[in-house]
Amino acid sequence: MSAVLELRRVLKRFGETLGVGPVDFEVQEGEFLTLLGPSGCGKTTTLHIVAGLLHPDEGTVTLGGRDITRLDPQHRDMGLVFQNYALFPHKTVFDNVAFGLRMRKVAQSKIRDRVSRMLEVVGLPGVEARQPHQLSGGQRQRVALARALVIEPSLLLLDEPLSNLDAVLRKRMRHELREIQQRLGIATVFVTHDQDEAFEMSDRVILMNVGHIEQVATPEELYNSPTSRFAAEFIGEVNLIDGTVASLIGDSAVVEAALGGRYAARGDGGALGVGDKVLLMVRPERIGIETSPSANGEAVEATVANRVFSGNTLIFTLRTASGIELTASKPSTAQYRDIAPQSTVWLDLGDCRLLPRET
């Protein structure tokens, strides 16, 4: 595996304000990489820098080893799908898809062939003669994808392409998009603010926040082992508990937690010393709930303050003796359905993760 695209120390300002950067990352061959983050985090700016629609103030962008930092978009070999698809309203589907091929001076006979083949790939055969306004949202999205892919770009760029679809279609398109991407084996950069999309589709996710990269990881790593409070809170539900480092064992630490007791926590303990303030992170579904105290007496005693039923899960709000509230989610099976509000339970916080405490 080698990198198709590399960004090194890329930085972009808008007037006085920092747009994005410095940003470093690379996209491997055939990889589906997602830029994930809240609006205004710089993910679209980063994508536009990759596409050449914006030129960075500092840093370099290389594609297949070639420096393209200052290259105009028309000379880059990339296919970009826009959020609103940006289909040319005055051209037929055929002319839309053929556009990039015509710009590359491909022979007319070959254009016809490649357009119809690509429309088949995206699951829309035979719509060449239609006008964009005659298509549904999902169909337009496929045409936009075909238009970006037909030029056989070395990189496919997707700018929130699913956000204008309805919920059902969005879910189906996730899988189709991923399936097409894998079939063609094309390196892809995908921009989204939706973590479900990012998780279901990506090989790797770049989590961005206020213009910089927060964490680069596979979806599983990002969920299980966030390295910052922002990453932990942006992705999924999380319980954060104040604590102090009591002792260090390799990468793990034993933490004196605010809710009483000491807990072993995985994490980047290397930079920490005994006595440092830290956060303990535990996902709601990783909290064990027992109706009787455990034999070793390590469990935390808590009262069920609230219980919400949401179909396949039960969400418990638990208050410990020290007054800290934790959220736990459990399958709505008989075992947990019987736990009534106001009853006393014992919590197992076995799967804790160590996070630096930001000042």
Binding site: G52, L54, R70, D72, P73
Partner: protein
């Protein structure tokens, strides 16, 4: 600015910049500079700096009268255009009529026919055998035709007619841009029809009034054709005087001095407009 747009944008702006600089601003600048040069019947000008042109312009009663007449007619034209244009703009901005598009077109259409066409229309209407005189005689109000052409009234009426659309457009913009809820709010608070108009609608359309008045005033001040045809030699205005000076006596420096006064009027009007506008915003 998008990537690499700098050179492209500069290229796009080149034609208009060259055009405006070399065929609009530079010639006008040069022409106005001539106002301080000396006149020579043999040459275009003698490049010796002098205040003679301005001294003559302000010193001779004939020219002072022309300046005052021009300012008076310009002010009156702006005033009457406002008086007639405001109800029209208000009506167009508020009407729900399906004919609104047509009515709007009827305001713009006369503008497109050009100055000559409309001036000619007024000659037919106001002439000694014209519609106005014929009608007045038929009604028995007068015995023989009254002289309307070659009076200030004729020039004024025609100028109001010709320039009124320029008043209507800015007024319409500012009236149509008002949030109708503001008037409704005033009504729910107990304000009557006139009260609403004077306390809400009129103050909110101030920008349009200023813009329209400034536009009509300056366009009147520079009018040549209408005063020449309807006023003859009796109602001389500044624009016409410049025209005569250049084409008959070739006195460019003196024509330039008059043009300078014209531009000065215009700039003071624009200055007042922006000052008025800023006061409103502040």
């Amino acid at each position: 600015m998008r990537a690499g747009g700098g050179i492209f944008a500069a290229t796009l702006f080149t034609p208009i910049t060259v055009l405006y600089l070399s065929f609009l601003l530079a010639p006008i600048g040069f022409f106005l500079v001539m106002s301080v040069f000396r006149y020579s019947p043999m040459e275009l000008y003698i490049p010796a700096v002098t205040a003679d042109n301005f001294v003559r312009l302000l010193g001779e009663e004939h020219y002072r009268n022309i300046i005052f007449r021009t300012l008076r007619i310009a002010a009156l034209t702006a005033f009457f255009s406002l008086l007639l244009g405001y109800p029209l703009a208000y009506f167009l901005a508020r009407t729900g009529s399906i004919w609104r598009g047509v009515l709007m077109f009827l305001v713009i259409a006369p503008l497109m026919t050009g100055v000559i066409v409309r001036t000619y229309g007024w000659i037919v209407l106001l002439g000694s055998e014209g519609t106005v005189n014929v009608t007045l005689m038929w009604l028995g109000l007068i015995d023989r035709p009254i002289k309307i052409l070659e009076t200030e009234v004729a020039v004024l009426v025609a100028l109001v007619h010709i320039l009124m659309p320029y008043m209507v457009f800015p007024l319409f913009s500012s009236l149509a841009g008002q949030d109708p809820d503001v008037e409704r709010a005033a009504a729910t608070l107990g304000a009557g029809r006139w009260r609403i108009f004077f306390e809400v609608t009129l103050p909110l359309s101030r920008a349009g009034i200023l813009m329209g008045s400034a536009l009509v005033f300056t366009l009147t001040a520079g009018a040549v054709v209408t005063p020449a045809l309807l006023g003859g030699t009796k109602v001389q205005m500044l624009g016409q005087t410049i025209y005569d000076l250049v084409l008959s006596t070739l006195n460019w420096p003196f024509a330039s001095a008059i043009a300078f006064v014209l531009v000065l009027c215009q700039f003071s009007i624009i200055f007042l407009y922006f000052k008025g506008g800023r006061r409103r915003a502040g």
